[in-house]
Symmetry: C2
Subunit: 423 residues, 2 copies
């Protein structure tokens, strides 16, 4: 290990240890104490706009020098409105119910033992994320609301913004009962600190990556700390033989076009061959009118000649833009099999008036959210009424689908006796 | 990759793919269909005792030739009673409530969308375990009861027994509606197959290791598949200043001695210095009378000279035998800090009549189960009334503490609309 690596090792371990120590105190914070800390953070964000904008300008300047695209620069960019939005989101969090302390199960044993399973904080949460500096505030305040300490590792392209935001959080927490050590930012952006964070099992209870496919795959591949996989959405709309034409078109256009860059947007349309023959042209024309490039199978291309032929890659693609793959199927079973082969277990919809086909689709498609006659765009913590969202889990363990505050909690058995021993 | 490795690679991928395909069918099995399959397994276990005993004898013979200890040979050994017990456990499973299909949450949106969060199988579960062949039956039947496919990788020392048991399971399932492919056994016991299983993210949803510390650490270090950590228990009993003498002795002796080889047995006793001065000698003598070796700090050793001095390793040790570490503390806070430093987050107890100290201990100690005035030996799926146990989770995600059937489930959002789109 050379000297630079030793310095590096120092930061992650030191901050991990401090976060762990803070988390052990944070389990006993009251809801009022946590909300007070959040309110102070919101106030400081508004009071220190000038500092935030100055530091953000440094990131933007460096980003331009490094040739970042306008889209990425826009994600990094903060302005008065965006800072106000961040502060507003923090204040909304104070109004949400505190999940900590909830009794999840009560077991009364014949021997007099009383067992209560209660909701508790997870401990220390690691967040690894890309460009947007507002994730720094989001992740920190959602963690604090649920009594968790957090270690943040943002993008190097938002380094100055993130440092300013965490400085503001620390100043706010210093006036509260929440230990400021409960929020840690990794400032050394080398690969070594990332690798160390991925293997910080001694102090970290979970890692949540938020960002593109590469980031998420790297975290899954390299982590020994448990990971909650968030993410990729190759979402399908299956238009059944028994689908209403108007409803199918409305749902497909919404799922594809309302916000094409997000994970719950549709990337692939499956159409029953009968429906395609009768109604297919209309929907394909409407997509094309909106500048959507269509990648179709043979039948689609022959009924709509301006479509290009889809390759194997298209069936698996998460375009996140104005492209869509379109495939003909002969039955709901073929649609289910296709989705279970190419889908990413995010959000999948069927449009049909046939209840049996709907039921089969919903129970057989393996995804975090399955829809009957509605757009996949609703898979979202706010739309589901959770009032917050730390990400959308596409894995099966711990949390699946939109993750609200409860996804940042664990449980603990409290056992009360008066001298019971096991016979 | 040489030819043997290619064959090896073939087995894990092929069985993983088959298990995944089976799991997609298994989500639609009814409770009656699953119970019928379990009943057939129980019947076949009893009907084919001769086969099981013949194959088990091969493992025992090889084990003797390989110089396995009597303790390990006893774990591998099956006899008529043990086979009857396995069949009985499978029949008990049929009586347990099926958790699949339970509605966990209902959300009614103003736009008419109806969202139901329902309990579903996880998908494909990987079990990696040591010696005991009964885990083969346990893991397979708990997985089937919850609609999951399972890939089993037992110990090479029980290879013939495991192959016989899985053959019997397959014969039983062939007469049921459960696809026999839902239970897969890895037969090639090389390191390569283990490594492949740890990275089988394409087909595996979770890995559960059951066994010693080395096995669990290897699985955590090498897996990219999500792992549920089970296991190690360095459990403490803290005897507070305000502890009843008789109760403290009864609990300590039970937690240490009722079954010293298991994870919820006590390994370390923390004693408040006032209590030690007044009552300590009695308890230390009683432990010594039962052949327990005592590793104490300076105060303990001076009040009980036959104790040996504890080292740093003793505070962290999971002895699983007739040894105990004993430390003097000056306060409940010191006890909490010691446990949060050396504990394994399994089961921790306080003996006291002081409610404030009890409350502080229970809320501040970071463990899956915390006890007030009771033995740690109760941390167990059967004792908690779950009727089954796949292991005891010592991590914070997904499941914590004894894992019953519900720990083998995930959830899925069913969203019902009539054409809703996002505005």
């Amino acid at each position: 290990m050379d000297i630079m690596e030793q310095v590096t090792a120092g930061e992650v371990k030191r901050k991990g240890k401090a976060a762990k120590a803070a988390s052990l105190k944070m389990v006993n914070l009251s809801t009022a104490e946590k909300n007070k800390g959040l309110e102070l953070i919101a106030e400081q964000l508004l009071a220190q706009q000038a500092l935030i904008l100055t530091e953000n300008a440094k990131d933007l300047q460096l980003g331009k020098e490094n040739g970042l695209s306008d889209a990425v620069l826009d994600r990094i960019m903060l302005n008065e409105k965006r800072i106000n939005d961040m502060a507003h989101a923090v204040r909304l969090l104070t109004e949400l119910q505190d999940p900590i302390g909830e009794t999840l199960e009560t077991i009364q044993k014949d021997n007099g033992l009383s067992i209560q399973k209660k909701r508790v904080p997870i401990g220390v949460i690691g967040m690894v994320y890309e460009a947007r500096p507002n994730v720094t505030i989001d992740a920190a305040t959602l963690s604090l609301k649920t009594g968790n300490a957090v270690i943040l590792r943002g993008s190097s392209s938002a380094k100055y913004s993130n440092m300013a935001l965490v400085k503001i959080i620390h100043q706010a927490l210093d006036k509260s009962s929440i230990p400021a050590d409960g929020v840690q930012l990794i400032e050394d952006m080398s690969r070594e600190t990332a690798r160390e964070l991925f293997r910080l099992n001694e102090y970290l209870d979970v890692l949540i990556p938020r960002g593109g496919k590469n980031l998420i795959e790297t975290v899954i591949r390299e982590s020994t700390v448990p990971v909650i996989e968030t993410g990729a959405g190759n979402c399908h709309i299956y238009i059944d033989e028994h689908a209403d034409k108007t409803m199918a078109e409305k749902i497909v256009l919404n799922a594809k076009l309302q916000r094409p860059s997000v994970c719950n947007a549709a990337e692939s349309i499956l159409i029953h061959e009968h429906w395609l023959r009768q109604n297919g042209k209309g929907i394909l024309e409407k997509l094309a009118e909106q500048q959507v490039e269509i990648y179709g199978d043979e039948q689609v291309c022959s009924s709509f000649p301006s479509a290009k032929r889809a390759t194997e890659e298209d069936w698996a693609a998460e375009y996140l833009g104005l492209q869509v793959s379109v495939k003909t199927v002969q039955s709901v079973d073929e649609a289910i099999a296709h989705i279970n082969t190419y889908g990413t277990k995010h959000s999948e919809a069927i449009v049909t008036s046939n209840e049996a086909n709907a039921e089969k689709f919903l129970s057989s498609v393996d995804a975090s959210a399955v829809y009957h006659n509605a757009s996949t765009r609703f898979t979202d913590g706010f739309e589901f009424g959770y009032g917050a969202e730390i990400g959308i889990s596409t894995q099966k363990l711990h949390a699946r689908g939109p993750m609200g505050l409860k996804a940042l909690t664990s449980s603990k058995f409290y056992v009360y006796g008066d001298g019971q021993i096991r016979e």
